[in-house]
Symmetry: D2
Subunit: 437 residues, 4 copies
């Protein structure tokens, strides 16, 4: 038979990693068709990436066909897995998400604060459209979402679509695992972390090497900026040593926005006036990557791709697909319906937590409750995500404003309204639900 995978946003610069991931697992994960879907605006990139993908497959000598299309519905028919990696409004929209808040002295970031809210408002309706198509065209397929903000998107799919076979994926946990391995001078496969929390708000409750707890040792070494536990897109300022010791669990890189708000804001402002915001930096990186991809001699994933922030995302997706397909019952940290795994999060909300990956999907491992010290922040972000998802679906002006104001990175109701109104206007084209008569 063979597996059919459909990748929405197939023209993304990450696609070569996905193709590589499929190729190297071919023996146990026999993908017969890979459909790369994009929109008119991404046509050119799709062609470039698609051709590279074809060369990669040819070189690997596996019987998988690559299909390039702008017709999403055609692609979805009979799919087994649908992965999404698109960016509504492209990098220009992301730059707006970063610049407008900064102008108001507020963190401007892709998945956190005002930027995260607006990325959600733009993305969720598109994902729900895809879910609706899937319901009709490939009702048994799994939706593997790695479009950000992945937590909010998973929450929205769980609450507002008829699709329950959805998994949100992130490269943060993998990055933390690799960082810990580097820190302890060991290999990632020997490291295990008890992940629990939300997307980009996940904690490592305990860290193990070969099954033995090394949490305290890792925490003691975490404050060194050279620890390795960071992300390409996040400035690493190190942590206040005594605070991390007091916290007692491993934060993720995005926690800097919450525990170091002021300092991160200063760094962002500095960058914005020098190298540019992250979107602006990435835009340049992307151009370089696509130049590389055009090379007709290139038939592998170029090593330069790993410098991009999203490294390991696609590999994580392949791993997940493989474990579902083969009922591996291994442990992977993914975004799923909580189902009681974390006590103080509602059962029907999305959480990021270690799961057993089975043919029927991920089953979360019970965490009990998060430590009291981190529980409040996690719950606050979950409140924000739920209000934001509702705003995205309804296009209700007040729900959106509410989400903006209760976000912990936004310092006052008045400023919230100012930023909100300005961003709403700036993103008007991609927010039709807010501008219906």
């Amino acid at each position: 038979m063979g597996i059919k995978i459909v990748t929405i946003g197939g023209g993304s610069s990450y696609t070569p990693e996905l193709v590589e991931g499929i190729i190297k697992r071919y023996d146990e994960l026999p993908v017969k068709e890979l459909w790369l879907v994009d929109i008119e605006a991404g046509k050119e990139k799709l062609a470039i990436v698609g051709n590279l993908a074809k060369r990669m497959v040819k070189k690997a000598g596996i019987p998988m066909t690559i299909h390039l299309t702008l017709n999403r519905r055609e692609a979805l028919i009979g799919a087994d897995f649908v992965t999404t990696q698109m960016r509504v409004g492209l990098l220009d929209a992301r730059a707006i998400d970063e610049r407008i808040p900064l102008k108001h002295n507020v963190i401007g970031q892709e998945t956190n604060g005002p930027g995260g809210l607006f990325k959600g408002l733009r993305t969720i309706p598109v994902i729900l459209d895809i879910a609706k198509d899937m319901e009709e065209l490939c009702p048994n397929a799994w939706l593997i979402n790695f479009t950000n903000p992945a937590g909010m998107v998973t929450e929205a799919v769980l609450r507002y679509s008829n699709i329950q076979k959805v998994v949100g994926l992130c490269n943060v946990p993998i990055g933390m695992r690799m960082g810990v391995a580097k820190l302890l001078d060991t290999t990632p496969d020997r490291v295990h972390i008890d992940f629990a929390g939300l997307n980009h708000m996940v904690f490592g409750l305990n860290v193990y090497v070969d099954g033995d707890k090394v949490t305290d040792k890792v925490i003691a070494n975490l404050c060194d900026p050279s620890s390795g536990i960071t992300m390409k897109n996040i400035v690493d300022l190190g942590w206040e040593k005594e605070f991390i010791k007091a916290l007692g669990v491993l934060p993720c890189p995005y926690h800097r926005y919450y525990y170091q708000t002021e300092t991160m804001l200063e760094e962002e402002k500095k960058a914005a006036t020098t190298v540019g915001t992250r979107a602006e930096v990435v835009k340049k990186l992307e151009q370089d990557l696509f130049e590389l991809y055009k090379d007709p001699e290139l038939a592998i994933k170029p090593p330069q791709l790993e410098k991009r922030g999203g490294a390991y995302y696609s590999d994580a997706a392949c791993n997940l697909i493989n474990s579902i397909y083969n009922d591996k019952k291994d442990i992977q940290p993914v975004n799923v319906r909580n189902n009681g795994a974390i006590a103080s999060i509602p059962d029907d909300s999305a959480v990021e937590v270690n799961c057993i990956i089975t043919k029927e999907g991920p089953l979360p491992i019970s965490v009990g409750d998060l430590p009291v010290s981190v529980r409040g922040l996690v719950q606050q972000i979950k409140s924000f995500e739920r209000v934001a998802a509702e705003a995205a679906v309804t296009g209700d002006y007040h729900k959106g404003l509410l989400a903006m104001t209760i976000n912990p990175l936004v310092p006052s109701d008045r400023k919230a309204k100012m930023i909100y109104d300005e961003m709403l206007e700036a993103h008007k084209e991609h927010l039709p639900q807010f501008f219906r008569e």
Copy 2:
């Protein structure tokens, strides 16, 4: 028989309100003895206030005796109700709580942020000492606490003492009720509010006049700074109209610190360089009050007392004591063990919620869950309060630092440590638990 009430911090300027409250309820609440207890440093004030109290009682012609003492244990023997209204470190400590954070560009406030944390660290051990004495000397007495931060103190007594008969009391709900009455041009007794949340973090989920819902009407009128729903000690900047509409519930005045952080900080900084911080203002008010109290002709509560921020506190206490004593089964908003009333707060944590007041104590009315939009903030403050209470009890340096850093008003881990270390040193005298060998 008659009732014995013991008031710890009896030399407080609020005492005349308490005495007035007892006198006017004498028919149904026959208090036989009122013991006013204070410490050596408050000796003089105790004498002034105590004499005024005696004159008030004499004028009222009721058979109640007033006892003034510095010996707390003697006073507690056989008490029926113990009220606490003390201030560890007096107003000077409060001024430190306000000034140090402000210096670091952080809200400096009595019960919120760094100031609230340190007030808790100083107060909780003293309250737990009182609880221990009560266990021995008046095991059946009720502890009616209106010492701030009342939520954190109630949490600490519930978790770390053997006393379960404790109620935390606050004048914020009464103030909101009176404000709504003023706003709607009606009388407070016709207004009912569904209160739920935490101390100084309480929301009015619905507002009624004569049992009919008027929530939307109240919210629509709330944004006017002259609405009347504010506190003496909180600058009223009005609310962003669309945000309040979006929120859909009635915030309390202290919510300004969280939803208008930046603006409140600016106001505080301005005040600090002009009229002085709130402690400094109050210090002057208190001196004036005590001058008044000295007047041997004065035999009533002087009307000037109502200008003080804590108005209605003592009246609320009398009301509560009366309802317990007489098993009134009326509804009052107080701080008690949650016991499932608010779904997403642990059962064994303190909440501020409408309760039926019975002879066996307050029984919370089930709220279900708070609206998603406010749930996160409430949970974050609850996390903070629990970590703070643990720090107060253990004197653990890291727990205190953790509480400081996770407080939503503190903008970074580094600044948290700076403020924490500075305040710890400044309050050294009143924080022996942190300086044990």
Copy 3:
């Protein structure tokens, strides 16, 4: 304006109590119209009772009109309160509910075991029809249900209708309160009981006289069959003294079916061969009552009515309506959405628990959790009620069989099927949902 009350099953023998209850509260509860609705089969009884009601009103001299009708929809228009007190299939159906199980050596009872299940299966669709009519014709009205099995019916309305303004009412708590008063030789108004559990499965967690706990004293006296805490329709065999002491809470009379199953079965079998089952006894009582009601000189509720098992039901209904109408905020034990009041029952299930009665309906008082010892049985009955309600709504053969088999009074899967099939056939006429093509 005046209040409009509609009573479905208006031809019931209980109606005079309802009319009396309205008359005596007229000053604060100005009912302008009372509509008594019945079906064709109850036409004659409706006329008899309706005429008595008119005589009662006339004698009382209040300006309330009595309307008799077989047209339910006409009656419902603009109603403020709708009370339901009907019996689908009349007493003949109840006799079947009692006789068939008994034949198989299983408890045959109106609201428990197989009989309770079938009464629910017959009644729920009719109540849901009424709810649908109310949604259309009197959307603001309260549905005050005292049709049995009241817990299952309330559960069904909450889950399967669009009406949320529903309260289930029972006379068991009133009976327990009066029984305790008699036991302690005091008056019912001085007695307060903390009620919690389910309908006909409610416990008195604590008992108070004038606010003081007397639980142990009551329990110590409970084992005497002459204690007075029983129901007209339940044989009182006394309790095993040491068991009641061990239980530590006040059971309700219906608990005998669960804690004394074997003995109750023997008593039922004996009665069935001598005086007849309860339905058969009641049939005779009813005939006598209606003979009395016919007397054109009678213009009051005849005292003989109190001998009927349902005494106080209608008075409880009037009390409830009065407290809702006048926003009394008093405490009454009723069946409502749990909303977290009892920890181990789902929030959205019906429970019987002390509530504050407000204009917006009853607000449950938080119980925390039931004692471990009774929690299991309560949960088992709740499971049964939920499966039964689902069966009633869907007409699914297997769901009904499942409900029958998991009922704790049914001793085996095979016997369950036998009784179920036999009762399904016997009640065919009143169970159209199970016999659709």
Copy 4:
């Protein structure tokens, strides 16, 4: 280094299976010492079994030493794993547990009903003693309990000891898995079952072959007594076909006592008057086994052992120990602290549920909630277990009586007291906690 295992009740007839299990896993589970501990009364059996164990080890040629001792404390020093498989009062006590209830027309069974209660009352204090010794002598060891009633024992250790490293083990899930394999004509390793519930009250919520759901197919075939899903010690009467279909999940063999109470009782009574109760049958089987074990030529586990009800118990224990030791992270159904895995069971209660087995112990996989239809019965048994455990620890007469009366297999409060008093007297010797002055 090597592992040290201590087996309390080492003289049990099951020990050869344990020894075999260790031998065959030696490569990955290098056990250096196996200590078989027993009491004076089991001295002779210990010698017989111990010698067989030594011959088995010798034949296998592995460097493991077998130690036989009556000194438990000496054995525990430095243990890594402690397994318990004892029977307080031996088979004679079990026969009493079976005979007395039967005399009163009540199910007499080892782990259910009155028998289960008394086995718990006798066993729990001994297990808690062992836990106390472990705390002192081998604080890092795991207690692997397969002494029945394993659920109640695990509950008691979790609540009343300082040992948290405890896992309760049962062969029921393995038996169900093997039965399903047989039913579907496949091998057990291809079958996976989602187990959830309590010990001897566990359900298979879903059944998979190679990751694909086959639940409905299994259920459809379950009603055939030859299905293979039963236990040696439980009469298999088949299930009522329509009931099982309605139930929709796989019951365990012990569920027959609850869903077929009446029929099982009849079977038990018949057996008691012919072949004898299960204890009496087993006694004979044991004698035969020990005769076999004496054979100095025997150096393997004799195949006859598999006819004994507890087959696979010891193999399950070896599997569990192996997975803990090697941090295998495989899935095994065991009894552990719920920790939120099953929504309606308290977090701190023991449940039997699929877990990931890690070096730090089993981590339960989140189940969400049990189907409504089975939830009530499970909760009722959990209530019973908790009251029983409290009775076992306190020796409180009334708690024990309460446990007996609320057990769903006991038909009335009076009969409960009769059986309870009679069993208390009969087991006096092994229940010192109930007979203290």
